[in-house]
Symmetry: C3
Subunit: 356 residues, 3 copies
């Protein structure tokens, strides 16, 4: 990236203070930013956790700041660009920066890739070294299939989607447009289904598939199992973090966030805009309503209504769960009190030890 | 698949009602099944969660149902096949269907695969593109080593086993017959063993191996570490789900089920038919008896007897654990009651706040 | 390996008892060790969990034992080598053994590897079959890049580091010297960062990188995300187990231990010598002090001071957490007692059910 503060202000539609010609070549968090870096302040002056003087004095060549910070930063030597939503404006610059930093790999099939005769490869597709695309697979226009990826027979990858290296998508799955699959992701592995036949587990063939809709992102080493019969579905705009497990027949709505190491068991259905936090686990055959939030490490064993926010191994409403956590810390005290009361009221009843 | 209802009835040994010539080309859950699909009813009429009339009226071309459902489904227009165990009968059809849908890849070594001169490759083996088989490795008859797999020096893969794409099995490990390793599985990574030598962690070489017995299935991106000295062992018929961690020197018995994201720490031993549910964790050097069931998210820190069923961070017996969960929800009430009692009985004792 | 007991004693500087010429060709735990195996006893005689006679009678050809065990093992037929620290001495023999068992792969680039023209490959480097090294990447002297690995543009791998098969390190990351990355590890995947723009999640480009310092080991299928702007850092000597998640901008100090399936959320900082046990989870933007120990399955939601040892979903000090666990088991009894007291003192108040 090489932009002046003036060019950045024009890009994000902000109000520039200070030198327009300052040259910016990098992006950094404010404490680490140098004179050639762009940084940003998320919150208005009133919410500064550091002093306004310290912020104003940082060497960052250019600072994107909220309009409310104007008076506090008026004396800053370097450039400031005032906008309504600094984080969003900063992300806009980042997008431009990233396109230069990581230009899409060039269209074309690497000579070491193995692409079956019956595969259909769209315009502008990149297929990297040692990738494998099986017959009847379809790779949409502009998609990137990186080194070492495997795309199974009859699988469709939508236009503009990107599979980072060493991703595996098995046969007959569907990935929508503009999806991002990070390294090590597995899509379409068999669901975990067995019949107990006289004590041993007989495999139930998993002949369904996975449908991943548009604009979905899936983090490194996450695994999405294919359905037993029809389809495991990940809805449009849902973002999945690293090392997440999605079992067979799960249906996830639109714009959900599934954070790292969460797991969702078989046939469970999530509505739209649901947040499943890190290391949370949802039992099988459960329904989670729209906008519900399952906090970190929480276990859910039954249906959860829309908008509910829950915490703990048995998924209690957050307020109750947090109250219980406070009370648990006072449990030793409570036992001591009850022991005293018992001695007074029921002296005959209990010489035994109530409070170990 | 293309079978008539009559052929399906003959395959599963069921009693056919309705048209024998109905042509079936797919399998689906009953609510989604069309006139060319086979579906099944697991439970007898008495246990229908939907009405018998609704079930009878579904368009499914053929329905496998329990014998007890006969009277309820007598008037159905489409075919019905009555059997003792519908789920098992349906799985039998699925197996046939799947063999047509996913025929085994053809025998032969893909020209891009790298197979060392000293490797022994059995009859009918398939080795996919970009797979690597090191010297002294043995691949049993009919095994499938898919694209991008790595089989280390001296490792033996049993007859009929299947490694899906991008599986890594390091050196000197043993995989039995008819095992299934899903994409991204790692077998034989070093165990996690260090000596603290004046504050830094010095690696203890892990020179053991992994032995996976017959009929084991391992889910996507699971990792099984090699032993420090002798062997980590996964017993015959054990089924492991996705993203499971098995540490060095663990010994797992026969026909266990280890569900997604569970972890078993070093040197722990499981008996036969043990179930470790999702996200459960078992400490190191612990013994779990036959038929024990560790429920989801449970933590186990000490030995567990045969047949025990446990739940919670410290692995309590299920009944107690569930009772405690109920009581926890009433903790705020309990504190209020005790505060009242204390005021009455020990007024001098405590103006302090018992119930925050 | 082929060494005599005398040679082993010389190697580890121990005091030999019994035949110096005994030939040792393997290593085994004591119960399984044969006449050609070396085994070791960790604890002194006083701490034997088995009887001294049983230990002395094991067929192991050579036994490394603590000096304190001398009298108890004086009558042993096979060789014994007495040392101060048997585990460390044994590890020393193991290291020698392992070097023979697993000699480093030969220097050179496999013809099927794809190494970009602009990559710099150090002396003695091994690049395995189907590995990919992009332009501007630097591979330090003696490093091993195994089959199917991907090293992104501009990424530096330090001298003596080893990437096992199917590891992915994306662009512009830095791996120090003598690092070990087990199969399936992902380094440099995008951090999980989105802006909510009118209900949908807009990706914040992750343009930072990952810096992994010297002597770091990372277990199978673990994933380390790149920073949003600057760097995710794993400090020198830190050892990470399997299936661990490290989010963007995390900073981990020196010599930490991060056990299997633990997860550390964004921007959290760990001091030195911190231990994060299996399946523990640390929230984002939290600071963990030096030498803190987070026990298995623990959740941490706020800062943790140096040397703290914590347990449970909300990370309580261990002693309190363990006391609460004991008291929880007696909760049914406590409710019964309080109900009795209430009946006596507040009979009018509550015929309702306090103890479900």
């Amino acid at each position: 990236m090489k932009m002046t503060a003036g060019e950045i202000a024009a890009l994000i539609g902000g109000e520039l203070q200070g030198p327009a010609e300052a040259v910016i070549t990098g992006v950094m968090p404010l404490p680490a930013a140098a004179a050639t870096d762009l940084a940003y302040l998320e919150k208005a002056a009133a919410a500064f956790s550091s002093s306004a003087a310290w912020i104003a004095g940082r060497p960052a060549g250019c600072l994107i700041a909220p309009q409310e910070a104007k008076s506090a930063l008026a004396a800053r030597a370097g450039s400031v660009i005032y906008v309504k939503n600094p984080k969003q404006a900063f992300a806009q610059v980042l997008s431009k920066f990233e396109k230069e930093l990581n230009p899409l790999p060039k269209a074309g099939v690497h000579p070491s890739a193995v692409v079956a005769a019956g595969a259909r490869i769209g315009a502008g597709v990149h297929i990297g070294p040692h990738a494998v695309v099986e017959t009847l697979a379809e790779i949409g226009a502009g998609a990137v299939i990186s080194a070492g990826c495997y795309v199974g027979e009859g699988t469709r990858i939508g236009a503009g989607s990107r599979l980072y290296p060493n991703v595996t998508v098995r046969e007959r799955c569907v990935i929508g447009k503009n999806a991002i699959l990070h390294p090590g992701v597995v899509v379409g592995s068999d669901g975990y289904g067995y019949l107990n036949v006289s004590g041993s587990h007989s495999k139930i063939p998993q002949v369904g598939r996975v449908i991943i809709e548009d604009d979905v992102e899936i983090g490194a080493n996450s695994a999405i199992d294919r359905a037993a019969l029809d389809a495991t579905v990940i809805g449009t705009g849902t973002k999945i973090d690293n090392l997440v497990h999605i079992a067979h027949n799960v249906r996830i709505g639109h714009n959900c966030l599934i954070i790292a190491q969460a797991g969702i068991a078989g046939s469970t259905a999530l509505g739209n805009n649901v947040i499943i936090s890190g290391q949370a686990g949802i039992s099988d055959h459960v329904t989670i309503g729209d906008n519900a939030i399952v906090l970190a490490k929480t276990g859910i064993m039954s249906d959860l209504g829309a908008g509910q926010i829950v915490f703990g191994n048995t998924g209690r409403p957050r307020a109750l769960a947090m109250k219980i956590e406070v009370l648990l810390s006072k449990l030793p005290e409570l036992y001591a009190t009850v022991r005293k009361l018992k001695k007074l009221l029921l002296p005959a009843d209990a010489p035994e030890n109530d409070n170990k």
